[in-house]
Amino acid sequence: MPKIILLLGLLLSWGGFSYFSPAERAPKLDLPYAEAGLTEREAAAHLLDRLAYGARPGEVDQLLEEGIENWLSEQLNPQEDRQLEAELRRKYPALGMTTQEIGKKYPSAGVKLIFGAMMLREEIAEADGDVQAVLRRRMGDMGGGMAAGPRNRDQLAEEAGQASQLNRILNVEELPGPEDQSQYARFTRLGQQLGFEPMEDLMYQLMAQKIDRAVQSENQLEEVLTDFWFNHFNVSITRVNDGAPHVLAYERDAIRPHVLGDFREMLGATARHPAMLIYLDNNRSNAAEGVETLMPTRSGEDLLQKRMGSDENSPISAAQLKQFMQQPGVNENYARELFELHTLGVDGGYTQRDIEEAARAFTGWKVDPRIYPLPKKLDRLVGLAGLRRKAVLRDAFYFDPGRHDAEEKVILGQRFPAGGGVEEGEQILDRVALHPSTAHHLATKLAVRFVNDAPPTELVDELAESFLRSEGDLKKVMITLVESEAFWASRTEKIRTPLEYVVSSVRALGQAPEHPRALAQWLTRMGQPLYAYQAPTGYPDEATQWTNGAALLNRMNFGLELARNQIPGLPVDVLSVNQGREPESPTAALDTYLPLLLPGRDHSETKELLLPVLNDPRFADKVAVAAGSQVMPDEAVVAPERESLARTVGLILGSPEFQRQ
């Protein structure tokens, strides 16, 4: 017993020590919200609007109780939310897989065909050429039912095409022709037999984990910043390009760990990640013909190429082979976006010549071919080839000395002597990461995102200076931001992005989706399909981007459908937000729900504009008629007596005031 007490005492004192340590690590914050004219309550609401995805019911009070400074300190030093992470990994298994594992399990269609065929051929060879035995083993139980989910005609046609190519590759007539519908199912199931999963599943996991985190994570600032920095270092899943399978790992490994850390590390992690290497074509950037490289020997890639193209019954067509083939010639896309978008900015003081020289320095920066589902033997050989030629293999990054332009370069006025190797690219990243132009470029983007669309130049200068002084410490820059008066003075000046709007609506109602598929579709209709901005610029961070076109209309409709419990996978009861107490009149409804949904704000305008409509007897009549009618379209999405309240809440969520943050 005394031992236990002693142990408890130790634990307590240790716990007490650790309790004080974050405060020691985080210097005292000087938050000038009062100077900017905000009450403490407004300041708390501002933080939840800007540095989080909106307030949940009662969250402003909780934050005030905890203390604004403590809340910020916690957000700036996020601790892993183990429970949420475990839950997400259970729902979205790709989150727990390495880049290689994801690449092997969720190959894009062409990759699936090529390597699926190669795997089968390997098996056929092992079975002494007995094709039928292998097909029986692999496909014996595949007759009959459709295993695949709904497919559109284009997908069906594509699968049919792949199946008939597979026939050719395997030189069998086992698979029926494209006229036969059941073949689509057989081909899909053959893929599953070989360990492949449909790409759409991976894309769903990617989008769903983002929405779930935004709604549920306690580390809200980390989520908001992950969204910001992903958009800064944008890659895209548009039209499921070859880089799409790697976007999930990209956000997880290259972006999220660094958003409150070191900018240079994030820059390096993006530069070396397969998602970026493929998206901006560096994977195909090679020393030009006749240029000195570091090593003449053949790489694992060449081996792969040779193996794939060696026999006349090659499993792949010339065009498909070309996808994997490396041809001499520099591609400038990564180098250009590195300067223009990721670091210096468009007027950052570099020339076309600097781009060309930097592009030469990044030749040989490639993706490890083992992210593809190679047959076992080939996988091993490719790895050995890499080791033999001392290629740098790190995670899925692969530096190919045989493709690297080893001659001298001059970049941004600095001479890089011949033979710099992979370090040369790293030195360029060092140089641009902490360049004053980069500081100014990033400071402007941060100020636009977190203050307003036309931020004061003094604020931008302060942020840039903080970035340079701290050598790219992004946490220090965020502290400078919250210590600026401009940050607090910009209350409700930003328009919520569609993601911010959808997630903050869900949070305001105290809900979390069972599955966020429908929310992802709404985001597309509001103009922000997740992970699908095609251009490397990322989404423009301006209010007009989000109010254009059909976007606002879809926001209004979303507010109504959410409050009326019409969103699949997201049950909503507007009464529960008010602990089940029902307001007695439209005036009471507005007086109750406006502060609940829009805490720490002036609601007078919204109330003034809405009240006449809600008090108009025609409104009540129409709603009553509608609610009482027998033609409820979808089985009682909302109880008739709540119809009026649900619409009132829908109007608040869809209101101009709720679009602001």
Binding site: D154, G161, R168, S317, A319, A543, N548, N557, L609, A626
Partner: protein, 417 residues
């Protein structure tokens, strides 16, 4: 500085200045939007054929012995009769039988074909080539806007909210940019309180939003909100639910068919459409592309049926409309081992309009011997796609075209009109 540039370019700013919060605009213009000079605006309808259409199958050289040698399983015989007969366009080229519904337009002289068209950038990746074509800057990915958005920025006057519409779930790269553009898959979705049928008191909810957005003190939300509400009213008055295409018109029940049907609705409703975008997928015909069930045959059947029905549907408005097809690249001259074709370079495109100098094949297709082929395998690109796009935009819509439309390009417009 940035801000001023944005206001100048922004469609919203123009709306705000001209009609923000002025609901009377709707009543005046709902069914028959006119330009300041009193005419209906011209309309450019674009169709992106994603996946890379085999231009040599669509419009086949007739007397080229190399073609027969390189694609014996795909080449079609002009001399044959029946459904397989390729339709002679002139003494050099024939139209694929599945595209036969387009033949009357060619014979009328309102359909032009440009052959050997493509990009100077040699990428044979769908993603890259589509990106370059839609941005209008081959080889350069950082271009922030799309070429059709830049066209919208060059149009006269403020236009209506329906000036640039894409019938796709998300805005295509072609329409990225600062000018106002709508993307919508189904026009019904552009209805306020769409989840509440009108009989369900949906109007009551819309009145709430009308009150909120038309009178909010937040400028941007008031102006864009008003434009949005105007747009929904315009569509409501256009009575979309009861749309009946012209007599005898039957759109295929395909993605493209639904898109063109709705584009026809917008044109006839007179809501001020000037730029429309639609997609046709499935052109990546790596195997069994020919024959009755072949991928190319099916896509070509759909494309030609969609376009010919669309053109008949808008009979009264044909003078206003020009239709332009495009695809990211062509396909190998030689057939592959599974009776398909792989990613190539030059393809062909169609331009349809009453003022088009049609009945003619523009561009240059050399004899298809290996020495003449790009990289020894592909139809060479002899016409830069930008000279067609710029020419069509300039000649049909009256915009400047040229380098403002296609940054870094100094070529000349192809004269098709």
């Amino acid at each position: 500085m940035q801000r001023r540039a944005f206001i100048k370019n922004s469609g919203i700013a123009l709306f705000a200045a001209t009609l923000g919060g002025v609901p009377t605009f709707v009543r005046a213009a709902a069914r028959d939007y006119r330009q300041p000079n009193g005419t209906r605006p011209k309309v450019l309808v674009t169709i992106f054929q994603r996946g890379a259409m085999d231009g040599l199958a669509a419009v086949q050289p007739l007397n080229d012995p190399h073609l027969k040698e390189l694609r014996p399983g795909l080449v079609m015989d002009a001399a044959r009769t029946g459904n397989d007969k390729v339709r002679a366009l002139d003494d050099r080229f024939g139209l694929h039988p599945s595209l036969a519904p387009l033949l009357p337009f060619y014979e009328d002289g309102r359909l032009a074909i440009v052959h050997g068209v493509g990009s100077p950038n040699q990428s044979r990746s769908h993603f890259d080539a589509q990106d370059y074509m839609e941005a209008g800057t081959p080889g350069r990915k950082s271009t922030p806007d799309g070429w059709l958005n830049r066209v919208a920025g060059q149009l006269d006057g403020s236009g209506t909210p329906f000036r640039a519409v894409s019938l796709t779930p998300a805005l295509p790269r072609s329409l990225y940019g600062t000018s106002y553009a709508i993307s919508v898959e189904r026009l019904e979705d552009l209805r306020l309180a769409a989840g509440l049928p009108a009989g369900m008191g949906g109007n009551a909810a819309s009145e709430g939003f009308e009150a909120l957005y038309r009178q909010t003190s937040a400028d941007l939300l008031r102006s864009s909100g008003s434009v949005t509400l105007d747009a929904t009213q315009m569509l409501a008055e256009a009575e979309l639910d009861n749309y009946q295409p012209a007599r005898g018109v039957r759109y295929p029940n395909s993605a493209l068919g639904r898109s063109l049907r709705q584009i026809a609705q917008l044109i006839k409703a007179g809501v001020g459409l000037e730029i429309a975008f639609a997609e046709s997928g499935g052109w990546d015909t790596h195997s069994r592309q020919g024959g009755a069930f072949g991928g190319f045959t099916q896509r070509a059947n759909d494309l030609s049926a969609c376009i010919s029905n669309f053109w008949r549907d808008i009979a009264a408005h044909q003078d206003e409309v020009c239709l332009l097809t495009m695809t990211e690249f062509g396909r190998t001259v030689k057939q592959n081992g599974s009776f398909g074709t792989d990613h190539g370079r030059g393809s062909c495109l169609f331009v349809l309009g009453n003022s088009v100098r049609g009945g003619k094949i523009y561009g240059d297709v050399p004899a298809l011997k290996v020495a003449n082929l790009e990289d020894g395998r592909d139809l060479p690109v002899t016409t830069d796609f930008r000279s067609v796009f710029s020419g069509v935009a300039a000649q049909h819509l009256g915009v400047d075209g040229g380098e403002d439309l296609f940054p870094g390009w100094s070529g000349t417009d192809l004269k098709l009109m």
